[in-house]
Amino acid sequence: MGLISNGTTVFDNGAMASGFGGSMVFVSSATASSSASIEFSLGSYKEYKFFFVNIHPATDNTNLTFNFSTDSGSNYNVTKTSTFFMTYHDESDTSTTLEYHTPSDLAQSTSFQRLCLAVGNGSDESASGSMHLFNPSSTTFVKHWVSDLQAYDASDFTRNDRSAGYANTTSALTNIKFQMSSGNIDAGKILMFGIN
């Protein structure tokens, strides 16, 4: 049964009709529990937004990283070119920076891309932030992302890391994987939204 109001279908076939509800739609989430990695399948949204909430590594001073797959997760090795810059400030107020970080960018590399550096594993330390991924299902264009993460790092600095770049492939991206550069993701949550 559908629900039609003033000639407009609001609900039908057990779902809200297109044009109702918000444009940012929850797709999936994963909560880490000593997890080696967290993977998501990608679909046909033109834009995805990932929220990272209190990503806590098992190993101190490790980086949160990601890679893409074009073969449903069999391989995570998509070629990427990226930029990375960062700012940090220590709790003792002795050190600040705003700088491009060459070791964290990629140039036509299939390696994992760093999202956030040096995350601490103290009991109250973690990283949070967000990442946009644009049109991963395109078979015409390269796939762009921009990210913005904030961490309580291993040296008791606050740090804000920003990467951007593109997966240099015209194949559709089917999956994305997040993992630490060393050790497990001890705890934390990643939420994936599709944006209409």
Binding site: M1, L3, A15, S128, Q150, T158
Partner: protein, 200 residues
């Protein structure tokens, strides 16, 4: 009366069923300034949402060049004095070409300070000047982790600059944050709107 479509309950007891997708950016509260000393959000910040988004629309100060400041509370708004460590950087360009900069904003950050944190900076008080911005606050109800926040703002600055300001940091407490206050560094918030959303 319930509305059931295709065997799925969509509406019952006067509300949408929890399984009906309604969008994930949920407007929780809107506050409009009118010569306001401050705007505070003292309810709705809890464990319902993993993160919160604040949007600042045309914040107009009564005092020329004032900054919009942020502080947090762990006691429902009785005190706004949570310890914070932050980073700040900015870019600007003057309406008269040639005055451009990208740099770290030393002096606008905090290191283990309970003071208010500057967010939208140097807003002009001319009739057409204001500042806008977006601030993300992650998992404020956690009693395990510090509370991360990330913000970006754009200002019609008092010296007729376009200024793009970045803020990030953490509230260094494992107590739950349950209130947030915004006020100018001097004078009132003459006009403007602040909206608080939950992300689910």
């Amino acid at each position: 009366m319930a509305v059931v479509s295709g065997g799925t309950t969509l509406i019952d007891n006067g509300a949408l069923d929890a399984g009906v997708p309604t969008g994930s950016l949920i407007l929780l509260s809107t506050q409009t300034a009118s010569s306001s000393a401050s705007l505070s959000f003292t309810s709705g910040i809890d464990s319902t949402y993993d993160s919160y988004v604040f949007k600042f629309i045309d914040i107009h100060p009564s005092a020329d060049g004032a900054n919009l400041m942020i502080n947090f509370s762990t006691d429902g708004g009785s005190n706004y004095n949570v310890t914070k460590t932050t980073t700040r950087f900015y870019a600007y360009n003057g309406e008269t070409s040639g005055f451009t900069l990208l740099g770290y904003l030393t002096g606008a950050d905090l290191a283990q300070s309970t003071a208010d944190q500057e967010f939208i900076r140097g807003i002009g008080s001319d009739n057409d000047q204001a500042g806008v911005g977006i601030l993300h606050l992650f998992n404020p109800s956690s009693t395990t982790y510090v509370k991360h926040f990330i913000g970006r703002s754009s200002t019609a600055q008092s010296s007729d600059y376009a200024e793009d300001d970045y803020l990030a940091g953490y509230a260094n407490t494992i107590s739950a944050i349950n209130a947030v206050r915004f006020q100018m560094s001097s004078g009132n918030i003459d006009d403007g709107i602040i909206k608080m959303y939950g992300v689910k």
